[in-house]
């Protein structure tokens, strides 16, 4: 088949053809691997038409050849892949892709080529693909689900090809507020923006197309006595210049949410490689808070389904007209217009004026009349009123239309009588307009059915959002301008409180148009079978017959029918098909459309890029990494990392050929035998001061703190009101009514908020201030028998003597030239100190510690060694031994749970029956029978191992390690009534049928008397 070019010459058209292309600028591009040329200003769709290419893809289910149907974002068929490699982007609408030099694009859903497609076998076998096909076919046997059905469905279900590598372009997001946001830059939107702006409002007006003006270039009518286009150009220019209106083209408003939160997708640079390489982001996602939203999103033309209405060359009437006016292209050499309204007559006269013959205007209405009809008649176009297309002939596998068949049509919906065949190679079809109510509905807006339009229009919205113009069902230009000015003025005043005089709307007028006649379906005269499909949803290949079958099978609700047939569920979300689908359902059920109802409109209005959703948060900004002052030092020392919250902590420091296990064992033995250094800076630190500081501590800890003397510390437990343990740490008394609380690393922010919450909301009479100082201080553990010797080498005024600074003591002073707080606390059971220094001094001080410790064999140790050291001592860790359902009593921490204090958080809950019950899980130690066997973390203990599942689970491992100190494995576990089972063996079925047996023992494995820390 030869590809004939369909570019219309400008000569003789009075400059009304090809308005947005620049015929002096040729642009080369590639389509399906072949080189073509178009003009600057072309879309991919128009450039393909110009090159005579009408088949741009294959349909999803039947793989039928498909061409362009619409224009802009309403296009259901022409989904293409653009770019290649890591810039490949699937599922773009060819009608929106702007041509630029070097553009490469290809058809989707076609293998091996769009011209010859293997999947078209589906089409021949289409009796096998009724509605609900997937539900009916991929059912049994169950063994087929994974191995047979899933691969088939996955292969068939994909649309387009994903990019091959990381996206090289940048994306970003932008947050702003405005007084009035206007959606849509057609006549109504611009008028509303102008009226709002006249009140001094901050206005954003966004339009999804490259050009402003909506369909003003093809809609006829005058504003201020001149062609619409003139007013559009002048108004858009003056708004852009004003400085209080942000005018945005290539920007789709994709979602409207609560409290007028609006999401806009701006295609900043994808249309222009030069812009992209100059640093502009490819896309930008706008998050806008608008005081007032005005929706002027226009209307989408709907087709009239007729037999084989999906053949390439069948196009929406406005699409034909817009392609001609803007790009100077037509879908063919001889057209037929099929309509139920006056507007399509404009298409016929425009075509003829551009030198494209129109074989017939086929109008379903019996007696169309009015100025547009008269104009067509006087131009010499033949009109067949009271008729409908009842068939379509095509050659080359359906790719090339040769004629349509027409027959008399009556309002009862019948075609009968003599058929007539009219030669043509394209059809412009118009079935009326559907207001774009999507945004109005995203956030709960309701709809009314408009009888005159035979479509839905918005009801008033609960939020400050109003819909105007065609989107509100207002089509006459005069009415539309009056409505738009009033809405813009009202919104501007509501947002700003302005009292400015209302800007007068310019006089506008358009030709009067007669009423449309509802038609949802033009029946075929032939046999109603697979050769005569009436497509409703082009993208998902849903036909009128599918909808009727669903009805017969009992799918009454439109929501069910939608899911069963997939009507409106494709990437275009039924922009051209939903209302027709409802019309067909109305016909087959006998219920009026409003009773059938609509399906839900959900964001986004059109698909937008994942890149813009990720925005800046890619690569190193994907997620926060919090660094201690030693981050670089740890990295230089070869640390492996453990993420704890957003922090990166050193897990261990392998040396040379050492693996992690060897490094951890070495670090543990260094602490037990020499001295080790730990970066404990992530611990939460909170200063608490005020007359009631002690009383507050008594209320939030399970044990008593108000008796603590300055310079002394105490280990405390915190419960929530449910009685569950959720944080622990040492709090020290800094002075009278002045304390420093330590929390877990994970609890640092949470606990300060917890204290604030109780102070602000419950104990409002307490005079206490709490201030988080976590990051002010870098804190280093110095642990091991040589800890004191190391610290005493540093110059300063701190006395580390056993009596001067005894266990659980604290002091402040100067050490190695730095202000320090010294705490004698131990999480390893060894002689141990924690030294806090101002963070900016952190690294220098750490290096001094290493230097001083060199002679003692000092080494840094990481978080894993820390955990093994504490587990050897039977110390609990929040998050290991606790999981939000564990009380201090479960853990045997009764000594720290006050019986005397009248009230503290969680106290009352401990007496509730489920917490006071006998059969709770209790913390115990475990020694495996085989000392070399380390139990898996979280392993379940069962009362009895059996083949039959489930087994009776009686507990779980909470901490489990290899102890180099004891040269065997150790573990802690929560076991039902565990403390009564000392000495008993319990069993753990682990992976691969293996069973591990372990003895229940005291959880303190090492230095039971605690002598090592008290030297």
């Amino acid at each position: 088949m030869s590809n004939k070019p369909y570019r219309v010459p400008t000569a003789g058209t009075g400059g009304t053809v090809g308005r947005v292309i620049d015929r002096s600028q040729m642009i080369d591009f590639q389509w399906n691997g072949r080189k073509y040329a178009g003009y600057e200003g072309d879309t991919l769709a128009s450039a393909l038409f110009a090159n005579g290419i009408r088949v741009v893809g294959r349909s999803f289910k039947y793989h039928r050849p498909r061409g362009v149907l619409g224009f802009g974002s309403n296009e259901p068929n022409a989904l293409v892949g653009v770019g290649s490699g890591n810039r490949q982007e699937p599922n773009l609408r060819a009608t929106q892709v702007e041509l630029h030099a070097g553009l490469t694009a290809s058809a989707q859903n076609a293998w091996p080529s769009v011209e010859f497609d293997v999947g078209q076998v589906n089409s021949l076998a289409s009796r096998l693909f009724p509605s609900g096909f997937y539900y009916k076919t991929f059912m049994w046997p169950q063994s087929f689900w994974k191995s047979v059905y899933e691969p088939i469905i996955r292969r068939a279900a994909g649309l387009g090809v994903a990019p091959e590598g990381p996206d090289p372009d940048t994306y970003e997001q932008f947050n702003c507020h405005c007084d009035v946001l206007v959606v849509g830059g057609g006549a109504a939107g611009l008028a509303a923006a102008e009226a709002a702006s006249a009140n001094g409002a901050r206005v954003i007006i966004a339009d999804e197309n490259p050009q402003f003006g909506g369909i003003s270039d093809i809609a006829g009518g005058t504003i201020g006595g001149e062609a619409q286009s003139k007013w559009i150009a002048a108004t858009a220019a003056s708004l852009a210049k004003s400085g209080n209106v942000h005018v945005m083209n290539r920007t789709t408003v994709v979602g409207h949410y609560h409290h007028n939160y609006v999401m806009m997708f701006e295609r900043v640079a994808e249309h222009d490689p030069n812009l992209l390489s100059s640093g502009a982001p490819r896309h930008r996602l706008w998050k806008v808070r608008a005081k007032q939203v005005i929706i002027a999103s226009g209307a989408i033309e709907r087709p009239i389904p007729f037999a084989n209405n999906d053949r390439p060359g069948v196009m929406l009437s406005t699409s034909v007209r817009a392609h001609l006016a803007r790009y100077g292209v037509t879908p063919g050499y001889r057209g037929v217009v099929f309509t139920n309204n006056d507007d399509a007559y404009r298409t016929a006269t425009d075509l003829l004026a551009a030198g494209v013959p129109v074989g017939r205007i086929i109008d379903v209405r019996a007696e169309p009349s009015g100025p547009l009809i008269e104009a067509a008649k006087s131009a010499g176009i033949e009109i067949s009123a009271g008729s409908a297309i009842c068939g379509l002939n095509a050659k080359s596998g359906g790719k090339h239309i040769t004629s349509v068949k027409m027959a008399p049509y009556s309002t009862s919906g019948r075609v009968s009588g003599a058929e007539e065949e009219i030669a043509c190679d394209f059809v412009a079809v118009s079935g009326g307009w559907n207001p774009v109510v999507h945004l109005h509905c995203h956030n709960g807006g309701k709809l009314d059915f408009d009888q005159k339009l035979q479509s839905f229009v918005p009801k008033p919205h609960a939020d400050p959002v109003v819909t105007i113009g065609a989107a509100n069902g207002t089509f006459g230009l005069g009415d539309l301008m009056t409505e738009a000015y009033a809405a813009g003025d009202k919104a501007g005043k509501a947002a700003t409180g302005s009292k400015a005089a209302k800007a007068a709307a310019p006089k506008a007028a358009s030709e009067t148009e007669g009423n449309l006649e509802a038609i949802w379906f033009a029946p075929a005269t032939g046999k109603y079978n697979e050769g005569n499909k009436h497509f409703i949803d082009y993208q998902n290949d849903v036909t009128a017959a599918d909808l009727e079958l669903a009805q017969r099978e009992g799918y009454e609700s439109v929501e069910h029918t939608k899911r069963y047939t997939t009507l409106g569920m494709a990437t275009d979300q039924g922009k051209t098909s939903n209302i027709i689908g409802l019309g067909v359902l109305s016909g087959s059920t006998g219920k009026p459309i409003p009773e059938i109802g609509t399906t839900t409109f959900r964001p986004p209005y059109t698909p937008f890029s994942f890149g813009s959703i990720a925005g800046t948060q890619v690569g190193k900004l994907f997620h926060v990494v919090r660094r201690t002052a030693l981050f670089d030092w740890h990295a230089e020392a070869g640390a492996t990392w453990e993420p704890i919250g957003d922090w990166r902590r050193a897990y261990c420091y392998p040396k040379g050929e050492e693996d992690k296990h060897a490094a951890i064992n070495r670090e543990i033995l260094t602490v037990r035998n020499k001295v080790g250094l730990l970066d404990a800076s992530t611990l939460g630190k909170i200063e608490i001061k005020g007359p009631d500081a002690g009383a507050l501590l008594d209320r939030v800890y399970t044990n008593k703190f108000s008796t603590l003397k300055p310079g002394r510390g105490r280990y405390g437990l915190m419960m929530n009101e449910m009685g569950f343990l959720f944080d622990d740490g040492v709090t020290v008394c800094l002075g009278e009514n002045h304390y420093l609380m330590h929390t877990t690393s994970g609890g640092a922010e949470r606990i300060v908020e917890w204290l604030e919450e109780w102070l602000q909301t419950e104990w409002t009479d307490m005079k206490v201030f709490v201030t988080a100082v976590t990051e002010q201080w870098s804190q280093y553990g110095v642990a091991g028998p040589k800890a004191r010797a190391l610290l005493e080498k540093l110059e300063g005024d701190v006395d580390f003597g056993a009596d001067a600074l005894s266990f659980m003591g604290m002091t402040e002073g100067t050490l190695a030239g730095t202000r320090v707080r010294v705490f004698r606390i131990s999480f390893s059971g060894e002689l141990s100190y924690e030294i806090a220094v101002p963070s900016h001094n952190g690294r220098a001080f750490w290096e001094k510690l290493l230097e001083a410790g060199e002679e003692f064999g000092v080494e840094p140790y990481g978080t894993e060694a820390l955990h093994v050291l504490r587990a050897e001592k039977g110390f609990i860790a929040i998050g290991d031994e606790t999981d939000g359902t564990v009380t201090p009593l479960d853990l045997g921490l009764n000594w720290a749970v006050s019986k005397k204090k009248a009230d503290y958080l969680g106290k009352r809950a401990l007496d509730l029956p489920h917490l006071a019950a006998e059969n709770r899980k209790e913390l115990v130690g475990l020694l495996t029978e085989d000392p070399n066997e380390v139990l898996p973390d979280g392993a379940y203990a069962v009362s009895e191992v059996s083949e039959k599942l489930p087994m009776d689970m009686i507990g779980q491992v909470t901490s489990t390690y290899w102890s180099p100190t004891l040269n065997r494995s150790i573990a802690m576990a929560l076991v039902k009534q565990g403390r009564a089972k000392m000495g008993q063996k319990i069993t753990f079925p682990v992976a691969d049928g293996k069973v591990v047996r372990a003895e229940i023992v005291d959880p303190v494995f090492y230095d039971k008397e605690g002598e090592r820390q008290n030297v």
Binding site: E172, G243, N249, V624, Q776
Partner: protein, 204 residues
């Protein structure tokens, strides 16, 4: 205390070429976090006596005189900035003045870092990471605003206007994240020019 020991969180960072704003880490400012009740006259007087200026009580404002600037953080919390070298002395003076008065003053000089942002594009750069619209009225010189920036807690202080100078304050552990974020969003070529006079858009 030896100044040579001080290593600020962004000691190894330098702004790359091609930024639409000027970005530097402020290394010579110290910070004191002060808590007290504004309705407690004794507290307000004692603070004023030590600082030389009255603490601002209007939300999101600041007050400054000479080297000392007080930023409103909360109805009972202020952040005082002063030269880093002067923090020890000022804190001692505050504590002496506030003796016996319900209050809490702590040195936070090392808890946060301050990133100084300068230029016409500062406001919209911040709008790429924060839900706040800094182009609205209410963000004149002296304004203080705490916020969520990207994923992190941050605070801005509008130091001066024309040209805009902002201090972005973040906890030290997040300093690299904040710096990286601004580098990524302040590149030339990515200007939004929100609500500025523009050329006419193309029309159909």
């Amino acid at each position: 205390m030896s100044e040579a020991l001080i290593i600020t969180p962004l000691y190894d960072r330098e702004a790359p070429g091609g930024l639409a704003i000027i970005m530097t880490e402020v290394v010579d400012l110290g910070m004191i976090d002060l808590r007290g009740l504004p309705k407690d006259k004794k507290f307000m007087d004692a603070a004023k006596a030590a600082l030389g200026i009255a603490l601002p009580t209007a939300p999101r404002t600041s007050a400054g005189m000479g080297d000392i600037v007080c930023l409103w953080m909360s109805p009972d919390q202020w952040l005082i900035t002063c030269p880093r070298k002067a923090v020890g002395g000022l804190l001692a003076k505050l504590n002496a003045s506030l003796e016996g008065i319900f209050s809490l003053a702590v040195d936070m000089s090392d808890a946060r870092t301050i990133i100084r942002l300068e230029g016409d594009r500062v406001r919209e750069t911040l709008m790429k990471g924060s839900s706040i619209d800094f182009t609205q009225s209410g963000y004149e010189a002296g304004t203080v605003r705490r916020m969520l920036f990207g994923e992190i807690a941050a605070m801005v202080h509008v130091v001066s206007e024309k040209p805009d100078v902002f201090h972005l304050m973040v906890f030290r552990s997040y300093a690299h994240h904040a710096w990286d974020w601004i580098e990524a969003t302040a590149m030339k070529g990515s200007e939004v020019e929100f609500l500025s006079s523009a050329e006419a858009p193309p029309v159909v």
